[in-house]
Amino acid sequence: MAEKLLEIKHLKQYFNIGRPNQVKAVDDVTFDIYKGETLGLVGESGCGKSTTGRTIIRLYDATGGQVLFNGEDVHGKKSKSELKKFNRKMQMIFQDPYASLNPRMTVADIIAEGIDIHGLAKGKKNRMERVYQLLETVGLNKEHANRYPHEFSGGQRQRIGIARALAVEPEFIIADEPISALDVSIQAQVVNLMKKLQREKGLTYLFIAHDLSMVKYISDRIGVMYFGKMVELAPADELYKNAMHPYTKSLLSAIPLPDPESERTRRRILYDPAAHHYEENEKVEMRELAPGHLVFCSEKEFEQYKTQYKK
């Protein structure tokens, strides 16, 4: 079994605590991410996928729970140097390549910002050499270094975003819907680039998305979130073959197929959370149905899922 890189334990992220409009964006979520793997996180808009990613990287202070990175608590009290070390190991790629690059900075400065802060280059020449190298790594060239973000297409900008993340030699990258804002033809290019970089540099990804077919393509394991909770977590193939939670089934039934005949006959499964009929003190938690396949259910549902499960 691969080594755990990240352990998320009972993570909670609430907003407007104590007010009538309190939101439980992430509510008691637990999962692990192993070194070198890609964990896909899917779910509808507003289910808490991005908030989970942002809480992991400390953009938000967690309301509760723990995030352990290489066994160290990310949200625990840390000295400046410890924080700096942590910030270098974990990077984030954002959804909108237009908004994620500072329009008033050149590409070289955007990429080199991390290099400067962590003192990874000796002198200006070395700094620029690293920038050129990173640009080439993501399929751009050194002529692009002195241009501004508005001079690039969406796909090129996302490549710049990836180069910026790679600049500090991270171990773990949170990709928050990195392809959602891109043209379909460019999406595959960016995903393939990410896969290539993962192979070459041994990176670990948390890939947040709602394009289920793309998530299946890139992910080793997939977690499904609904209303701030993780409802199912399984290896990618297993999830598509043996989805157990009704919400996962509903989500999978929404994947469009490039076949007019099957699209005409496709039946969309609707999910109704009330259909679970949980009793007041019934314990609902993640239960392991098969090795690595966890479903959020009650004991009664668990027994039911076991009988339905196809080996």
Partner: protein, 286 residues
């Protein structure tokens, strides 16, 4: 070519404004207003003659007739120093409260206060400040203002403060809105996720993106300050350039006064641009 057109247009506009008192005639017997366009030609002719003869002409204060050239330097300097100090404080306060100190709790309270004040028209704020200054003197005996031009600093510092009020409220609101908009951008989140400090983010990311808005609004800030200067110099009896405009309705001093005001606003605008440039070069990595 465009600049030449603009200069010509501004020149003609100032000439026309200066000529208005000599063009409009009121007939008290008939109780109507008549237009005397020949006054425009005569005024421009006299003005050009004086300038070409190397003289700025004369103006009248009460029963006294004085040479403009004798007083213009002092008046110019007074108006210029009031306006420069006022606009500089506007920029400094706007940037400090709007960006660099916006995280502090006390700044949030000041934000609220300034938001309330910005709903009050500027001339009411000026009159209210004058009343307040008088009340402070009545209660404590401390003199904050003086109406005599011979009072030195006492006659100057209060106008500087008053000149800055309305533009500060305007610029501060603009910067605060831009700050909140910019700080929600993904590149700021990226910077936060990289562990960069608030000051670094404010200088390198926020300021860089707000600066173009500040520069674009600078002309408006200067014009607001000049608008207030007219009221303040008149109310506080400050010996500034507006003396040429308010003390007489002759063509020559009004035209000279308006041209001087234009020159002052141009120098102030360029000085602030220079200060912002130095600030950027000094504090922000390019």
């Amino acid at each position: 070519m465009k600049i030449l057109q603009q200069v010509l247009f501004i020149f003609l506009l100032i000439i026309f404004l200066a000529a208005i008192p000599s063009i409009i005639e009121i007939d008290p017997a008939e109780k109507n207003i008549s237009w005397n366009w020949s006054g425009l030609g005569k005024g421009i002719g006299d003005f050009m003659n004086e300038i070409l003869n190397g003289s700025l002409g004369t103006y009248q204060i009460g029963n006294q007739i004085r040479y403009i050239s004798d007083d213009i330097f002092g008046y110019f300097l007074t108006s210029f120093s009031i306006l420069l100090a006022g606009v500089l404080s506007v920029i400094v306060i706007g940037l400090m409260l709007g960006i660099f100190l916006s995280q502090l709790r006390i700044t949030r309270f000041i934000h609220m206060l300034l938001n309330v004040l910005s709903a009050i028209p500027d001339f009411i704020l000026i009159i209210f400040s004058l009343v307040l200054a008088i009340k402070i003197y009545e209660v404590t005996g401390v003199r904050i203002i003086a109406f005599s031009p011979e009072s030195g600093v006492l006659n100057i510092w209060f106008p500087m403060v008053l000149t800055a009020i309305a533009p500060t409220l305007y610029l501060f609101k603009l910067i605060a809105v831009q700050y909140y908009q910019t700080s929600a951008e993904d590149y700021i989140r990226t910077a936060v996720s990289k562990g960069m400090g608030t000051n670094y983010i404010n200088f390198q990311h926020v300021y860089k993106n707000i600066e173009p808005f500040i520069i674009a609004e600078l002309t408006k800030v200067v014009s607001l300050a000049i608008g207030n200067l007219f009221i303040i110099e008149y109310l506080l009896n400050v010996p500034g350039i507006t003396k040429f405009i308010f003390q007489s309705n002759q063509f020559q001093p009004v035209a000279i006064g308006l041209f001087s005001m234009l020159l002052i606003s141009f120098i102030i605008y360029m000085s602030i641009r220079f200060v912002l440039y130095i600030f950027k070069r000094g504090f922000i990595y390019e």
